[in-house]
């Protein structure tokens, strides 16, 4: 009778090892490829004994490729995990990380920064602040007679998203078509091309947000039963919602502010996770984190190596990810959704 318990322990251990090792593997992989041709030997030396290689190799590996890969990992993990969390909170498998107007809010912030302050560091600052502002506004917009239900919150998010989207249009209209409009357009396609170590400051809110969700991961199952049942099962629904929605908003806002809008990841990575290991959030949350990080590092790697000019990562995510998703959908027969 001991045998099943042992094999189960082994399975869990393997899963945890895979979840940790896989992103590390993709991170290393990201260091070896890029526009600047570096032999594998040079990259290895740059990693192990930086003094022995030329400056260009050191800079390429340590100051260009590594921070970029790290940023991609954090952004991918954040978007995926907040998508998974929102799906459970709102009891809707079609919801993604942008549900509370975060992306449009961040987009408006970026537009303001580009048009009024010439972009630069203001883009990150403004998009982060406006993304969080959008969430708070959604919450208030969804407040009907002092109560906020998940349905009215989604409604609030849609309203606020539409409002900011109109504001973005205004900014595009008044932006200088030669110097500012391209910046806005590229921001909306998403990119990691200008990421350096200073941008990794955004990893702090992402890490905090992911931790908040990670700690509440089993409670997400209970929350997805609906507020009434969750309360009857002994869950402090308000506190749990606050933790999860707060965490997911922090994650998404910080992710969007360094990468621009990258849609799709927050919807589909959680679903790939669901097909692979099931719907239990206890496993799904860490799996989404790991898969999201791997996926985004891979997409970033492709976006900077596939063609001479960099392909915006938002486009690539959708172009490569969708056929893969269809393949998985066929293969797992939809993961019990029917």
């Amino acid at each position: 009778m001991k045998q099943p318990a042992k094999t189960k322990q082994l399975r869990v251990a393997t899963l945890i090892a895979a979840l940790v090792l896989l992103p590390v593997l993709f991170l290393l992989l990201s260091l070896f490829f890029g526009r600047y041709p570096l032999p594998v030997r040079d990259v290895l030396s740059a990693l192990v004994r930086p003094q022995t290689v030329p400056l260009t190799a050191r800079v390429t590996v340590w100051r260009l490729r590594l921070p970029r890969a790290l940023a991609a990992a954090f952004v991918g993990a954040s978007l995926a995990v907040s998508g998974a969390a929102f799906q459970s909170v709102f009891r809707n498998p079609l919801v993604s990380s942008g549900i509370l107007g975060v992306s449009n809010g961040a987009g408006f912030g970026a537009c303001v920064a580009i048009v009024c302050f010439g972009g630069g560091v203001y883009t990150y600052l403004f998009s982060f602040v406006f993304a969080l502002a959008a969430v708070v506004l959604s919450w208030f917009a969804g407040r009907i007679s002092r109560v906020t239900t998940t349905i009215t919150m989604i409604l609030g998010g849609t309203i606020v998203g539409a409002f900011f989207s109109a504001l973005v249009s205004i900014m595009k209209y008044i932006a200088d078509p030669y110097s500012q409009l391209p910046g806005i357009t590229f921001w909306f396609m998403g990119s990691f091309s200008s990421v350096g170590y200073s941008h990794l400051l955004a990893a702090v809110p992402m890490a905090v947000g992911m931790l908040m969700i990670f700690l509440s991961r089993w409670r997400l199952n209970v929350l997805s039963m609906g507020e009434r049942e969750a309360a009857a099962l002994g869950l402090d629904v308000r506190r749990c919602q606050f933790l999860v929605i707060g965490g997911a908003s922090l994650c998404t806002a910080a992710a969007v502010c360094i990468s621009g809008t990258i849609g799709w990841v927050g919807l589909v990575i959680p679903h790939i996770g669901r097909m692979l290991i099931g719907n239990n959030n206890q496993k799904l949350i860490p799996v989404s984190m790991s898969l999201g990080a791997c996926f985004m590092m891979l997409m970033d790697l492709l976006s900077r190596t596939l063609t001479g000019a960099e392909i915006p990562i938002g486009i690539l995510c959708a172009l490569i990810g969708t056929p893969f998703f269809v393949y998985l959908l066929k293969k797992t027969k939809g993961g019990n959704w029917t």
Partner: protein, 272 residues
């Protein structure tokens, strides 16, 4: 006394729904909550579960005032089987039943192996242990109700509150569910508060030899309480529902008697 409701008054948008209602549920006892649509059955259950907190009067659960209890404290004393449950994510049956252990899991905790054993035992108790690893979205309506009952059992509470659990079940599944419930009251000494539209349910439990009481709610009138035989008379049914009905008693050769309600017709408007 597990549940002790005294002088409960609840108003909805200024309109009184429940007035001066007193009700008790003891362990090993089943109390059937009857009444037409909109008479306040679900509201009463919500008050007992601590979901509605704006009533006047007092409700105590295992000796403690529900208004002073935290959510985990409430969930340790009363479990709930909802009227309808719409599955969103295809969790496995065991994962759903494990949610019954929320109150014991702590703020950031998750159920452990001991909880898993409790949940498997709960599934065995309602006879669906074989389904443990199946997605609960693939079950039939009757099986789903048994999963929800198992989840309530996993909470290990002295009181279970059920809101029209059999309203969507077929003939056989309804009986299966009621028999399981009767067995729990009889052998596990659980107290049950059951809201139902089926007026034959109280008779069924009475026939099974359970301590059964029926409470008839009726909008704008004081609630009536009594044994099924005393309460469910043609007069009561005519007054509360406006339905002419007869209570039939069938006696079998072995001496057992079964009461059922036969509907004769709706009340003719010109008579009264």
């Amino acid at each position: 006394m597990i549940l002790d409701i005294r002088d409960l008054t609840f108003s909805f948008d200024g309109e009184p729904l429940l007035q001066q209602l007193s009700l008790t549920v003891d362990s090993g006892e089943i109390v059937c909550l009857l009444g037409p649509n909109g008479s306040g059955k679900t509201t009463l259950l919500d008050c007992a579960l601590g979901l509605h907190r704006t009533f006047s009067g007092s409700i105590s659960l295992c000796g403690k005032d529900v208004l002073t209890c935290s959510r985990p404290q409430l969930a340790a004393n009363v479990a709930y089987v909802p009227q309808s449950h719409t599955p969103t994510f295809p969790y496995t049956v065991l994962e759903v039943v494990l949610m019954g252990r929320t109150a014991q899991a702590g703020l950031f905790g998750a159920p452990g192996n001991a909880d898993r054993d409790i949940c498997r035992a709960a599934l065995r108790r309602v006879g669906i242990e074989a389904f443990a690893d199946r997605p609960y979205t693939s079950l039939s309506g009757g099986e789903l109700k048994l999963v929800l009952l198992a989840r309530a059992l996993a909470q290990q509470t002295p009181l279970i509150v059920l809101d029209e659990p059999t309203s969507s079940l077929d003939f056989k599944n309804e009986l299966l569910f009621l028999e399981t419930l009767a067995d729990l009251v009889q052998h596990d000494n659980i107290g049950v508060l059951l809201a139902t539209h089926a007026l034959n349910h109280p008779f069924f439990f009475e026939t099974q030899g359970l301590r059964t009481r029926a409470v008839m709610l009726s909008k704008g009138q004081p609630a009536q309480c009594g044994t099924p035989t005393a309460l469910l008379t043609p007069q009561t049914l005519l007054r509360v529902y406006g339905v002419r009905a007869a209570v039939l008693e069938t006696t079998y050769a072995r001496g057992s008697a079964v009461k059922t309600i036969a509907v004769l017709g709706s009340e003719p408007k010109d008579v009264i």
